[in-house]
């Protein structure tokens, strides 16, 4: 069904993916899109990032829904009312889910797997947390429901970024 044209049969018969170098056989143009961005973190997230610098996790209380929102928002998307107060959380958390990744961001294969997942913070509802890495454990030790705690970068290296937390490690009993 692929259209045949005056250049002869198409290079990609059914089911055969073309390799990158085969692209060179057909007329094409290459370009880069060198756009750069600076995103404002916003009212709620700026405070969250500031507190990360202090080694603290902070959420916002939705009094209407009785829900501590982490990541914090200035409004609740469910009841659509403003959130009312900042709430410090102990920082300890529980593994909600995880992945053992043998691919990096650009789908390159890596030997040492990245341990990554989502955690729910103690003091917030079970569905309120963030994505982060896990460390100081073997891949096979990582389990849903595992109690974990953040490992912070040294204070002088924190810049107000999610990366101020290096990873989450198993909590000592």
């Amino acid at each position: 069904m692929t259209k045949k044209d005056k250049f002869g049969p198409p290079f990609n018969p059914r089911g055969k993916p073309l390799e990158a170098n085969e692209m060179e056989k057909i007329p094409h143009i290459r370009a880069k899109a060198p756009a750069k961005y600076a995103w404002a973190a916003g009212t709620a997230m700026s405070r969250f990032l500031e507190e990360l610098k202090n080694g603290k996790i902070i959420g916002r209380l939705c009094a209407q829904c009785d829900r501590v929102l982490v990541p914090p928002r200035m409004f609740c998307e469910r009841c659509f009312k403003p959130t009312t107060e900042w709430v410090y959380l102990p920082g300890t958390a529980v593994v909600e889910t995880f992945s053992i990744s043998y691919i990096d961001q650009n789908a390159n294969r890596i030997k040492e797997p990245i341990l990554v997942g989502t955690v729910a913070f103690d003091g917030a509802p079970p569905d309120c947390g963030i994505m982060h890495y896990f460390g100081e454990m073997k891949p096979e030790e990582l389990k849903i429901g595992m109690p974990v705690e953040p490992v912070w970068k040294p204070q002088n290296e924190r810049v107000g970024s999610i990366l101020d937390i290096k990873y989450f490690r198993p909590r000592k009993k």
């Binding site: 692929t2 990609n12 073309l18 889910t97 992945s99 309120c128 990366l163």
Partner: protein, 393 residues
């Protein structure tokens, strides 16, 4: 919400679809034209008969060209007509036909062409580089995520919460890649694939392995929608869109229930109510749920209320969802077998419902007599769903 008083019933009277493969020589416009022409030919129409055109296509970043609707316009046949592009990520495949539906159902247009196109191979070195831009820039992107991570985490949570075995999930990939053998547009059909092949395939982001994932692809698909006033002028076998629904959950994905897709259930309930369906398990004969990953077919069947949470895996293991089973699922071969050019999955979902219900599915025709089918797609940041119920009368 008023789901009863729709002005005009809407029928599909033609569908077209290109081969799905990576790096087609053609441009997006050329592929869109090819699919649109096929759909018009089947309906016995020319572009002059068409009142309005809907275009569906996923992120501009795949093409590196903004205003992609405009970029693809000529190939979609929208020139000098009312024309709009819709885009809700992967959900576009079933949402573009919903947009076409409301154009006709409103009574405003009698004949509408819906075209979906995707060319994922233009972005170098891999479509993953474009997917990187969908994550939250403050919280997620500093962690350098790969899009597969989020699926892997969802699959893990789903398996944990509903006690689902990986072996049963992998059977979905086997079924769909085998089903795709009958599809003339298929990219990854494999008549000999076994469960062991999937279980032993390369680990990507565990629990997700290579064969659990549908491949990036290039392709296009199109359908022609007409009003009840003219449907029988074009065909003796119109297939009716009797219910549509769509719903989206919060963007804060780390605040969502990753095991059960509530937004799918909401979209499905909307479509079922409109179609007058009270007991979907009894009244629906087969389904084309969105299956970019094998576990998604199961999770979506459950979201569509066609199985209890965790039950879809058991149905799969028992063979019920095979093409000749009691409830065929993805008889097309799905995204896993035919390929996954995001929006162009229109041809695998709505196209397949049309071909099956019109009795035109050829070697893919399901064994039992089918009168009612449901198709569904899923996308944005993994939290939007679009659902369409179609019937032969």
């Amino acid at each position: 919400m008023n789901l009863k008083k729709i002005r005009k019933d809407v029928a599909v009277v033609g569908a077209g679809m290109t081969v799905f493969a990576r790096r087609l020589q053609e441009t997006g416009k050329e592929m869109a034209w090819e699919a649109a022409k096929m759909a018009l030919d089947e309906a016995g129409l020319t572009l002059q008969d068409i009142d309005a055109v809907i275009m569906g296509s996923a992120p501009d970043a795949f093409d590196g060209v903004h205003k992609k609707g405009d970029w693809l316009l000529d190939g979609a046949g929208g020139t000098n007509k009312p024309y709009m592009r819709v885009f809700i990520g992967g959900g576009t495949a079933v949402f573009a036909p919903i947009a076409g539906w409301w154009h006709v159902a409103s009574g405003m247009f009698q004949r509408v062409l819906v075209v979906c196109e995707e060319k994922m191979s233009s972005v170098q070195p891999h479509a993953q580089s474009a997917f990187g831009h969908i994550w939250d820039p403050i919280l997620d992107r500093p962690l350098k995520p790969n899009l597969v991570w989020i699926f892997s985490m969802e699959m893990q949570r789903y398996m944990y919460k509903y006690n689902v075995r990986y072996e049963d999930i992998a059977l979905v990939a086997v079924k769909n890649k085998r089903n795709a053998v009958g599809h003339p547009c298929a990219q990854l059909a494999d008549p000999n694939i076994t469960l062991e092949d999937v279980l032993n395939s390369e680990p990507m982001a565990l629990p997700v392995r290579r064969l659990d994932i549908s491949p990036p692809s290039d392709g296009a698909a199109a359908i022609v929608l007409v009003s009840e006033d003219v449907a029988y002028e074009h065909t003796d076998t119109p297939v009716w869109i009797d219910g549509v629904g769509w719903c989206i959950d919060t963007t804060m994905w780390t605040n969502r229930d990753l095991a059960f897709p509530k937004f799918v259930a909401r979209a499905a309930k909307m479509a079922y109510e409109m179609a007058g369906i009270k007991d979907p398990r009894k009244e629906i004969d087969f389904a084309e749920p969105y299956d970019p990953f094998d576990y998604k077919e199961l999770q979506h069947l459950e979201g569509l209320l066609l199985a209890e949470p965790g039950e879809a895996a058991i149905m799969t293991r028992e063979g019920k969802t095979q093409r000749d089973g009691e409830f065929p699922v993805c008889p097309s071969g799905g995204l896993l077998g035919v390929g996954n050019p995001i929006a162009a999955a229109l041809g695998i979902k709505i196209g397949e419902l049309y071909w099956q219900l019109a009795g035109k599915a050829g070697p893919r025709q399901v064994k039992k007599d089918v009168r009612t089918g449901v198709a569904q797609a899923w996308g944005d940041l993994m939290q939007v769903s679009s659902v369409v119920v179609m019937r032969r009368r």
